[in-house]
């Protein structure tokens, strides 16, 4: 098993490397520099700033310098917010985004998982049609549509819930988490329904019933392990998606998280910020995918045995 894990980790390295390099050169290749949009700057000041941020060096030297900083964990200073480093900004934004993502994921897994399992237990009845129709809505309604609609309904018309901020007013974490989690709850619901249906039609479920075991035991003890595999495999892509979704949700709900910083950095051509956050987020995504693969392989005893040879 260890060989498998290390092998995958090693595979992840070139990926991250490609990400860093590609992002670096892409950002530098973009027309317009970080200071062009600002009010007109006197040439001498501009030159001094460029020197400070190493923009006056040839490209490949900038690259090497960046890599060496990176290895030491230093993501560099921000262009947009002079005086603050990327590390600081990430440190302030990450916990917020992580919390938002965690709530959304929990909503997705719990609501999605349970409704999918219940739907699979009574296929083609109301217990199936209702959650699956709601799931269809969740899939077809983009986050950036659902968010404003929920804000419109609960925030403005009914005035039940706050519509911006994170941790400032009690209850302001509810709408954003639901908005982000809804689409994923829908996917999880469909995946778990399909997975459970597939498993429940297997012969070994018939054997379990023939042993006289109570139905809940058959479903939970025998069915879940196989039925939830597609959901576990989905966790990797889901993580990446949640991150992308956080861009939208944090923008709509004015949440000071990593996602919003990223979007703003993209607009402001804040090179180091873009670079820093891309590197950081990409690494997280790659690692999370790896984790998801490992867990999925581990849950399947046959695969686990093969990988341990």
């Amino acid at each position: 098993m260890w060989r498998f894990i290390i092998g995958r980790l090693l595979q992840a390295v070139p990926v991250i490397f490609i990400v860093i390099t590609a992002t670096f050169f892409l950002v530098r290749a973009a027309p317009g520099g970080p200071f062009d949009a600002e009010k007109a700057v006197i040439p001498e000041v501009k030159a001094a700033l460029e020197r400070q941020y190493r923009l006056d060096l040839p490209l490949h030297q900038q690259y090497v310098a960046y890599l060496s900083d990176l290895v030491q964990g230093d993501l560099g200073p921000s262009f947009k917010y002079p005086g603050r480093s990327i590390n600081e900004l990430i440190e302030s934004g990450l916990p917020v985004t992580a919390e938002l993502g965690a709530y959304a994921l929990l909503i997705a897994l719990i609501i999605g998982g349970i409704s999918g399992i219940l739907a699979a237990l009574r296929p083609n009845t109301l217990q199936d049609y209702i959650p699956m129709s709601l799931a269809m809505v969740g899939i077809c309604m983009p986050t950036f549509l659902l968010g404003p609609l929920l804000v419109l309904l609960f925030g403005i018309e009914l005035d039940w819930l706050p519509v911006s901020g994170w941790g400032d007013i009690p209850g302001d974490k509810i709408l954003p988490s639901i908005t982000l989690g809804a689409a994923y709850a829908a996917y999880v619901a469909r995946l778990s329904r399909a997975g459970m249906l597939e498993v429940l039609s297997q012969d070994y479920i018939r054997t379990a019933r023939a042993k006289g075991l109570p139905e809940w035991h058959v479903v939970l003890k025998h069915g879940l392990r196989g039925g939830m595999l597609p959901v576990v495999a989905f966790l990797g892509p889901a993580f990446a998606g949640l991150l992308a979704g956080s861009f939208v949700v944090e923008t709509i709900f004015q949440i000071p998280g990593l996602g919003r910083f990223y979007v703003q950095a993209a607009f402001n051509r804040d090179y180091t910020m873009i670079l820093g956050t891309t590197v950081f987020l990409s690494t997280l995504i790659v690692l999370f995918n790896l984790l998801s693969d490992i867990v999925a392989a581990w849950l399947n005893p046959r695969l686990r045995a093969q990988l341990s040879e």
């Binding site: 297997q202 012969d203 070994y204 018939r206 054997t207 379990a208 019933r209 023939a210 042993k211 006289g212 075991l213 109570p214 035991h217 003890k221 025998h222 392990r225 196989g226 849950l299 399947n300 005893p301 046959r302 045995a305 040879e309």
Partner: protein
């Protein structure tokens, strides 16, 4: 009082294809201490009947229309789900056909074995595990302390079936229902499992229902035999009566379909058409080198049918495919009519293909589902320029006549045919180019017993008619000795014994051959 008494059982099925009567008013009884065999081909309703007794049929689409099933005085068909659940696994237990798919791959066999004990008898896990280990020993699995923590995929097919039997008997049930328990097993393993079931049955004095499509399999162990056809119970009797004095025409047909004859030795002078010399076909997997065919040499004479017999892992299918170069050969040569087939390049090989063809095992998978009968049969004819676009249709119709397919079916698609008909199409395709040599890889193994007999006769007739030379690969000895002139016995990639059918069967030399022969079920009765 009988252990189980079924009267007027009727089970209907309502699917999107229509309404069918799967079990049509059958009545039978099972006695304690006896093995009752229910025999029937696919669609006979034998499994449906037994599953309905335990409420294991999903109801829709099935529905139990009428009937009574008295088990120890209580009607199973009237019981609630909770009552049935108390009986399942405790008083009545079941084992199924394919132990690989019937055991939960995600749980150790220990966890699965103790479940019936924990749930029905409320035993603690510790006691249940101890009891489970005892049972593993009883069914012939050594080393229970380690094996109890293994997963199903770590066992061989025969061992898995033993585990299933242990799991079924762990609660000392009074009735055991076995649904085709040996169909998926190799012949020698099948013999072992049959013996095990018979022994356990006697030892524990329980009643057993043994479902099978193969009369021969139950010939040695059944006390009572029930024959079903298309949902109806057509004959019932004790073993002697059925085998010596069957009344119903369907039973007689089933009996006649069991290949019992041994082909007479051919008087033709041997003239080799195919020569295999030191053939080695090895496969590399990430973990090991599999020597599927390990230095095999033999020849096939013109006009003869050579039988290649072996169990799984013997390499028999690999040899067939290697000769036709459908698989890469690691070492060795194959000569066909004087030409070294192994040395041919792609172009030469394609020319040679006209003369050597193959019939595959699975009639469902060997035909392109998107091509009609016409498309499938015309393809080889047009490819090799045997017929032109104008003449090909007539040729296709003639082929269909040859293999016994009604001409009206020419535009139909594979999924609209039965297994036997599909195999006929496959045979037609193989014959299209008028080959000299045909490799038949388990051509009847996937077919019902009565259809098997028809296809075997067809192959024999066509072989004679066209002067074909055939390599007949099979695991079924009874079939092989009926059709083959000479036989080669394989074991793990090597030739064990070789000889004419007569010689091999009346006077086997090697111990493995002897074991194989003894494993053929039902010999005692059939020989008589």
């Amino acid at each position: 009082m009988s252990l189980l008494s079924v009267s007027n059982l009727r089970v209907d099925f309502n699917t999107r294809n229509g309404h069918t009567i799967a079990v049509n008013d059958i009545s039978f009884s099972v006695e304690k201490g006896q093995i009752t065999a229910i025999i029937g081909e696919s669609g006979s309703g034998k499994s449906v009947a037994c599953y309905s007794l335990l409420g294991l049929l999903p109801q829709p689409p099935a529905s139990i229309e009428s009937g009574q099933a008295l088990f120890e005085g209580q009607d199973l068909l009237q019981m609630s789900e909770a009552e049935l659940r108390a009986i399942r696994g405790r008083d009545i237990a079941m084992i199924f056909q394919d132990p690989m798919t019937c055991l939960n791959p995600f749980m150790t066999i220990g966890d699965q074995l103790i479940e019936p004990l924990v749930y029905h008898k409320n035993l603690s896990e510790k006691h249940a595990l101890a009891r489970a280990k005892e049972l593993l020993v009883e069914v012939g699995i050594r080393d229970p302390d380690t094996t109890i923590n293994n997963y199903p995929h770590e066992f061989s097919g025969g061992m898995r079936q033993r585990v299933m039997i242990a799991m079924a008997l762990i609660n000392e049930p009074k009735l055991l229902i076995a649904d085709e328990p040996t169909t998926a097993l190799d012949v020698t393993i099948q013999a072992q499992i049959l013996k095990l079931i018979a022994e356990l049955q006697t030892k524990r004095d329980i009643g057993v229902i043994f479902i099978s499509h193969d009369l021969a399999v139950v010939a040695d162990i059944a006390d009572q035999i029930i024959v079903m056809e298309k949902g109806l119970l057509v004959e019932r009797g004790d073993r002697e009566a059925i085998f010596t004095d069957a009344q119903h025409p369907y039973t007689q047909k089933l009996l006649a379909a069991i290949p019992s004859s041994i082909k007479e030795a051919s008087t033709r002078a041997p003239e080799p058409l195919v020569r295999v010399e030191h053939l080695k076909t090895y496969f590399e997997t990430p973990s090991q080198l599999v020597k599927a065919v390990d230095d095999v040499s033999f020849q096939i004479n013109k006009g003869e049918i050579l039988g290649l017999v072996g169990e799984s892992g013997s390499g028999k299918s690999t040899i067939g495919r290697s000769i036709l170069r459908l698989l890469p050969i690691t070492e060795g040569t194959v000569t066909f009519a004087g030409t070294d087939v192994t040395a041919l390049d792609k172009k030469g090989l394609r020319g040679m293909r006209r003369r050597m063809q193959m019939i595959f095992q699975d009639p469902y998978a060997s035909l392109n589902p998107r091509m009609s009968v016409y498309d499938t049969l015309a393809e080889p004819l047009l490819l090799h320029g045997i017929e032109s676009r104008k003449t090909v249709e007539q040729a296709v119709l003639t082929l269909m006549d040859d293999v016994g397919l009604a001409r009206a079916f020419i535009r139909k698609y594979p999924h609209e045919f039965s297994g036997g008909q599909r195999q006929r199409i496959a045979i037609g395709r193989a014959l299209a180019t008028k080959p000299e040599f045909i490799v038949a890889d388990e051509p009847v193994s996937a077919l019902d017993v009565t259809i098997q007999a028809q296809i075997l006769d067809l192959l024999l007739d066509l072989g004679n008619q066209y002067g074909l030379t055939m390599l007949f690969v099979s695991h079924d000895l009874a079939v092989v000795r009926h059709i083959a002139d000479r036989i080669i016995v394989l074991y793990q990639g090597k030739i064990v014994e070789e000889g004419s059918s007569e010689a091999l069967f009346t006077n086997p030399q090697q111990s493995y051959t002897k074991t194989l022969l003894h494993s053929i079920p039902g010999q005692s009765l059939l020989a008589g």
